[in-house]
Symmetry: C2
């Protein structure tokens, strides 16, 4: 069950949006109509052009067919702290609904932690909604410590 990891491309967008829209929260805020909303194409270009952001897709090949298993975004952030250091923020992790409960989530995170190390990071961080108790157990099992409160503020237009 080895996965292939690569940067997301425009041709992936409809599948990625499908994953982002695949829960109540996502369904309300995303636009999964076709053709793909230009706003997503523009956003992907901004992410791809930023050397400190990587929107990653994980694929699996089977019987000469390749399909997307999941996605996530890594952001590498330089700080003064720790005598100058890099930190990796993981966001937007999704495993496609057809491929859940097969251990892919764990593989995605293990790969991400290795990738953060290659990029010279000494901390990996993420936030997880407190209502998602399964996710919270999952991150604890991976060795993450819920040492912090994760605060969000929506900015009004």
């Amino acid at each position: 069950m080895n996965l292939i990891y690569r940067n997301a491309e425009e041709g992936d967008l409809s599948k990625l949006i499908e994953m982002l829209a695949d829960d109540q929260l996502g369904a309300d805020r995303e636009d999964s109509s076709t053709p793909v909303n230009q706003a997503y194409i523009d956003a992907l270009k901004v992410i791809s052009d930023d050397p400190n952001n990587e929107l990653i897709v994980a694929e699996r090949s089977e019987n000469s067919e390749t399909y997307i298993i999941g996605m996530l975004q890594l952001t590498y952030i330089p700080y003064l702290t720790y005598k100058g250091s890099w930190r990796c923020l993981i966001e937007g992790v999704r495993v496609h609904k057809d491929h859940r409960s097969k251990g892919y989530g764990k593989q995605l995170f293990e790969w991400s932690i290795k990738r953060a190390k290659v990029r010279g990071c000494n901390i990996v961080q993420l936030t997880s909604n407190k209502q998602r108790s399964d996710a919270i157990r999952f991150y604890n099992d991976l060795g993450f410590k819920a040492s912090h409160e994760g605060f969000k503020l929506m900015i009004e237009d």
Copy 2:
């Protein structure tokens, strides 16, 4: 008590490191020796060269003297979610020990939220150590919601 906000410069580093080292956690991990450790100079250059990171110092002028009140770092992160959106991460907020309990922290955050809006962000986020109950109350009062767990993983060398 109007503050002046600007990007940090190399000449600020000794003062900034002093602020970062000013608690038990910081004292253990920072190097406040003089001259300034080259690693901080290099890190500041990396941050300054990244258009999506701003290391901000807040100053006050009084009796023709200007002094640094506080610091913080803003990271602007592009995402696919919300039909393509920007989020602002706030980290490394410090108010100098000589200037605490005067409302400067609130001013720093109000400025940061405005700045995030100017940069087109629709969410501002931060994490705060659960042991810092004063800080947590402060963020709640500013309108932040502690909806998420903030997970950290230290990467071993």
